[in-house]
Symmetry: C2
Subunit: 243 residues, 2 copies
Amino acid sequence: MHPTEMLTRRLRVDNHLTNDEATALRSLPLEIKTLPADTYLVLEGDRPNHSCLIIKGFASRSKVATNGKRQILSFHIPGDIPDLQSLFLKTMDHDLVTMSPATVGYIAHSALERLIGTHPAIARALWRETLIDAAIFREWIVNMGVRPAAARMAHLLAELRQRMAAVGLSNGEEFEFPVTQSELGEALGLSTVRVNRVLQAFRAGRVLDLQKNFVTIENYEKVVEASGFDDSYLHLARNPPSS
Amino acid sequence: MHPTEMLTRRLRVDNHLTNDEATALRSLPLEIKTLPADTYLVLEGDRPNHSCLIIKGFASRSKVATNGKRQILSFHIPGDIPDLQSLFLKTMDHDLVTMSPATVGYIAHSALERLIGTHPAIARALWRETLIDAAIFREWIVNMGVRPAAARMAHLLAELRQRMAAVGLSNGEEFEFPVTQSELGEALGLSTVRVNRVLQAFRAGRVLDLQKNFVTIENYEKVVEASGFDDSYLHLARNPPSS
DNA sequence: CGATTTGTTGACTAATATCAAACTGTGTGG
DNA sequence: CCACACAGTTTGATATTAGTCAACAAATCG
């Protein structure tokens, strides 16, 4: 599979790209790198001249508050360009880190500029991706604001299930998720101890399981019920993309 | 002052718009309405064919979770287009409501499409605005995730001070903010009672005061210290815009 | 002016954090 | 192959933060 394949497919979900445009996307010059886990791709304060396409593996964005606590802002999966915003917001306001061994394609901003300058439809599609990114942040705020620990956890994993399924990385029953309980805590604003206890409760209730970097959704109905999850904010295709 | 003035000024902050482009912005057809407080401009699920420019007054975006609790996602001030994203994300995933009597300019999506189609620099500037919107959401997540009640409150008001000052609606010492304590609670994920107690503590400590829809920053140093506030995520101009 | 919303207070409860220790697995060097 | 180190998970006890409830006061509105 071509490295931009997942991205192209996703951009086509709601945008009618011509074959010419799809070709332009595919011929975007990528510097492909294979990186170990916990590699910082960009740091807060950096002024990068490229953005990163996740081709394989996982990444997360995070920010360290002045009280020393780290907040994870989002998790990223293949097909995502987590730092696309650095094309227009020159100074990074957060970090981007790999969570697992990952293959990443660096896309020079100059190349992106050229692409969106010559192909307005691609510009629209990429803009739309950044808007979905924001929609996910909004729901994350709701999650932190109004839901207790267990619901928050279930919501996060439900979202990830949908996003993974949308790029063909989950059948809806299980998917890879290389995260420690402590990282989950940093994402959800919970202590490690609480994360552990919530996970145990879900295990006991045959709702879901998270072990050895794999999530198993044992009962999606229960996950939805526990979290009040509704995936419309993900703005996914109504019909799953045909391969 | 022309209704699009604040918007134009803001878009010029980091984007070099020609006079021609500035004129195009100013001649954007606006349907201007004066609305009472608590008017829903758009509702979750709507598929609007226009976006709203806030010309005067305040608005907020919010979402009601399945458990019935409402989360306020953001506050909006003159010069903002809170629902610009509806141009590309056709179905609203949250509500937009006025918080005070407000003057709003409805901009037809068709007009926006024309504008960005003919003026790429404006498209870039608007795209950038939506990216700042997302940056603010990210910081909001940090706020909810890692900061205790008082710091959270102080951070929110510090942000608002900076944004209000950036459009000339605050001298840095005080600004209008027509919000109830209960709404503040919905924004910060706190109960009304806690909001009340935090505000009293700030009053007692001569840090800040919020009364009768006005915020007074009595000691900005202390506000920053209490919240760990750093405004770089707002991506404001390094030099304040000259009038 | 009464009615309703908003702000304030105290007593009590619930959720979650913190701390400290033990346990499990996994990889590494001797 | 074992011993050890290390990272991650699990557990129990305790502390802290914030929520809930209920009443009342103050402000606002028609």
